[in-house]
Subunit: 412 residues, 2 copies
Amino acid sequence: MNAEIITIGDEILIGQIVDTNSAWMATELNAIGVKIAQITSISDNPEQLVEALDNARKRANIVLMTGGLGPTKDDRTKKVLTSYFHSQLVQNAETLQIVTDIFQKRGLEVTPLNIDQALVPECCTVLPNRAGTAPGMWFEDEGVIFVSMPGVPYEMKHLMTGQVLPRLRALNSAGRIVHRTIQTIGIPESFLAKELESWEDALPEHIHLAYLPSPGLIRLRLSAFGEDEKQLEAEVNSQIEKLNRIIPDAIYGYGEISISEVIGELLKDKKSMVSTAESCTGGMIAHQITLIPGSSEWFKGSVVAYSNEVKQKVLGVDEQMLIRHGAVSEEVVRQMAEGVRKVIGTEYGVATSGVAGPSGGTPEKPVGLVWIAVAGPEKTIAEAFRFSSDRERNITRAALTALDKLRLMLKE
Amino acid sequence: MNAEIITIGDEILIGQIVDTNSAWMATELNAIGVKIAQITSISDNPEQLVEALDNARKRANIVLMTGGLGPTKDDRTKKVLTSYFHSQLVQNAETLQIVTDIFQKRGLEVTPLNIDQALVPECCTVLPNRAGTAPGMWFEDEGVIFVSMPGVPYEMKHLMTGQVLPRLRALNSAGRIVHRTIQTIGIPESFLAKELESWEDALPEHIHLAYLPSPGLIRLRLSAFGEDEKQLEAEVNSQIEKLNRIIPDAIYGYGEISISEVIGELLKDKKSMVSTAESCTGGMIAHQITLIPGSSEWFKGSVVAYSNEVKQKVLGVDEQMLIRHGAVSEEVVRQMAEGVRKVIGTEYGVATSGVAGPSGGTPEKPVGLVWIAVAGPEKTIAEAFRFSSDRERNITRAALTALDKLRLMLKE
């Protein structure tokens, strides 16, 4: 099975957005054994779409389209597909229900434009999109599968994960693939690659390793190809055991799990709660925690102490410490972690203080320097890190590293 | 003049890298009035490249290729181009000199593979690449320009800026494009489309409108095509003036600006500071603010009051109010905004309390219900919103809406 991706819309062609959808889709499709033959970005001109479809079906048996499904006039994909497949638009009851629900929930009137979102070509299988108002559409035509999805990354991923990938996996029944994702934190990619080199070199031919890095985290993916699923699973598990002996502390979980979720489980086991005192991370740790449903069971709150005044007044940091050592120091970050534990009333407190950049650095305290502390019932630990010169990455990496330090204390 | 971009190599097709080159090239080409008709990513299979070239020359008069020029076996672009243009490989003295210099500087021996880098098709104009060992190549064939460049972003940018763009600019003396981006918030896409419909319909042929939505925000982009840049700018500005009369409150800025940056400017003008009291947004507002460099000038801190205990103890919310109305209520969110203003000591306080989901909803307080309050020196306002059933989107939309309510108060 091989696929082509067609992205529709001007945003990519004028350079306004970088096409991250295609890389995500390519990774996911590769993971189920579908190769990508070509990725094509076109404008929303109808003739161009028809030409792209005609060309793609010559090379691939799966054609995935994103974009051009909004309610506005410049979104013409649905009309083009209707005529391309010699079909007609009909109202889809399920989609109309979803659209109506979305608008009713928001307390808004459903407009004719929204109702039009529920029109679909009669010949397609509708892939209900519970993340937005435009449904996915699945067509089969002379042995080729065509799928149309919205271009909004969130909605595309929702449809791919929930519907398109499972359907394609079911079709691709000969040949099994077993994947396992291993989540790591705390070792930069080049160091990790070096530590894993001899293990990686010794992997059998049919087991592949992929590094999937993002700021502060590296996911490793093992993919085993063969015929006997049980045997493949056993082989992958035995490789993961070996891996675990090489980097035991760096692995925080398996599959699509975030470090916040892992911390939540550890805290629930201990019947403990956490709070955060954030200077340079500015609320990012609390945000990462509260993204997890049910986090109120183990997270009580946070003080974003961006000014020194808040560090003193709300967290009780000693003024003399701030004057003597500055806000970005071991002494202050320890007091912040211990302070928030008391003020909010939790067993654990996590604190950050650093120079996020791009300005504000000095020779002794350069941009990227971040102090992180974790205070627990038995002790407080503090450690300094040197991240990069990029503000956004520094904030993300500092937040994830702080969560990792909490994880390690909870595991002790 | 219109162009197509062809990227060659497997990295993009397997999702290993995101294609940032194309977005950069598209932006630069648009800026000199060259439209991009299509972007195509292919593997380094020779037949696929020939097919892509044949298709591209039908649609465009400029075809820009990146990638496939390395010294290794899987880099076959140069050979394919030599035969595509019925030419033969000859040694280019200038390139040989550059390659030799690079290796001598590094104290390395020049290998036969490196010397082969100086071979170029006889029919091309060599674009010397002082950032690497593979030269750029410029071909003209039956009225179509073909340019081949390395895929390494740094080398590609060096060749584009130094040679390709100046040459294209010289050829394209006529034809200009002017783009303006208008940032909007607070009106969902379908409603916005309806409000703007008659204005959009009245736009002249050569001015195009695009909707670029993301959760909570919609960017509008006006693109004007013509010959006289000054006139195009005047026309676009006059359309933006009209737009501003239709949706004056929804437009928060122009170009690549975030709502936090706009708020920062408004607060600095007023010599005022803000703090936030966040329940359902869990630190996301503080995070959005502290992403902005220099935000410490106008942001003092935040209390993430995830538990009711923190709402009472740190923010001073009345226990009776919490019992009588619940945390997700107008009364409580007002007290939170007023409380954080006092506790942190700022002129403005922003608060959120809602049901982010996916669980925790009741018939009276369903998932997606969010109360937002803004307390200022003169008054406190509060408003309820109904967002969706998705936790992450609810958090983002609530945070952006809260920032927007602050913006509107600051503008009064």
